[in-house]
Symmetry: C2
């Protein structure tokens, strides 16, 4: 390598997900050849983000302030609370749906083998539900074994505090061809088929 | 978005090649969730690289010093000079081959329509060849129309200065199936077939 600093830059890019040696090289060359301004800005924002972004004290999503902009907003319905596993899930729901309630980010799901039990997940949420403001707890955990176990636990927790638990609908994805849907999903969708109305 | 700073971080990642909104999100979340140390280091190295990496005064490759480590090295054969189009090409040759000579990075190729003529490409190289140290000019430009035109021009330049021009072999890629090789390459490889020896 003609430049030790360039070598360091290439290695540093590999911290990003899905970036191997070859892609890291391409990124480094691209920034140096055509994107120095963008690179400068990325360096600056990244340094600031890594230092300043923590977690919202209410929803546990990423935030550089104690309470994030969504939780602090006066325009959200505080009776609905949607529980997701990760910040990325929260963003997906916020982008795709018209949901105007609040969120709670678990930052994980029940996984006894990894030492994540109900205690680790639920204490802050239980306190939140005990406040009595929440009437519907929308459980948006993954459709995996751990996600389902977490959903089951959250539903119990909600009922204990007088909130109504709900779960995202499961079935065939929109626009998917029946032939290519996995067996589990197809079997579930068939078993929970609903009546057609005009 | 719950955090304006996170939004900025996602936008900033999009300066990288091949990174769209979705990948940028994944990168931002990944760094915040699992790679803060790596992110801090990337920010620091990137800021430094963007400011400090310029071009080697001899080979024009990226370097943070006036003369890059390869050009400054005492262990390279100064009679061989390999001309490439870009720093990435130079790195590919350095990694794949056992070449121990020096390099010259054109940072482009002849492209009259874009205002890159022989003058823009060749002045520094001509001065280098006039030095008389180089005996072989290895032309490693791309097999494109512009690359070929550039190669032709460089060969003339080399001969004018008493250096022997050479060109990378063209033909079938190793391990490729004949059936899938493009027509131009196949026709060329067929036409320039060599005698087999024991």
């Amino acid at each position: 390598m003609s430049s030790p600093l360039l070598e360091q830059l290439i290695e540093s890019f590999r911290v990003l997900p899905g970036v191997g040696r070859k892609t890291a090289q391409r990124m480094a060359y691209h920034v140096l050849e055509r994107g120095r301004d963008g690179g400068r800005r990325l360096a600056q924002v990244l340094a600031e983000a890594v230092e300043r972004i923590g977690h919202c004290s209410q929803c546990r999503d990423f935030s550089e302030t104690d309470v994030c902009t969504v939780c602090a907003s006066g325009g959200r319905d505080r009776q609905q609370l949607c529980v997701v596993e990760s910040p990325a899930d929260r963003l997906a729901i916020e982008t795709a749906t018209g949901y105007r309630g609040l969120y709670y980010v678990l930052q994980g799901r029940l996984s006894p083998l990894d030492g994540i039990g109900p205690r680790e997940l639920g204490l802050a949420l239980a306190a939140r539900l005990a406040g009595g403001e929440v009437t519907e707890l929308i459980v948006a955990t993954s459709s995996t074994v751990e996600g389902e176990a977490t959903a089951h636990y959250l539903a119990q927790l909600a009922r204990q505090h007088g909130a109504r638990p709900s779960r995202l609908a499961q079935g065939l994805p929109l626009g998917g061809e029946l032939e290519y849907v996995d067996r589990g999903t197809l079997s579930h969708a068939f078993g929970t088929r609903g009546e057609m109305r005009d």
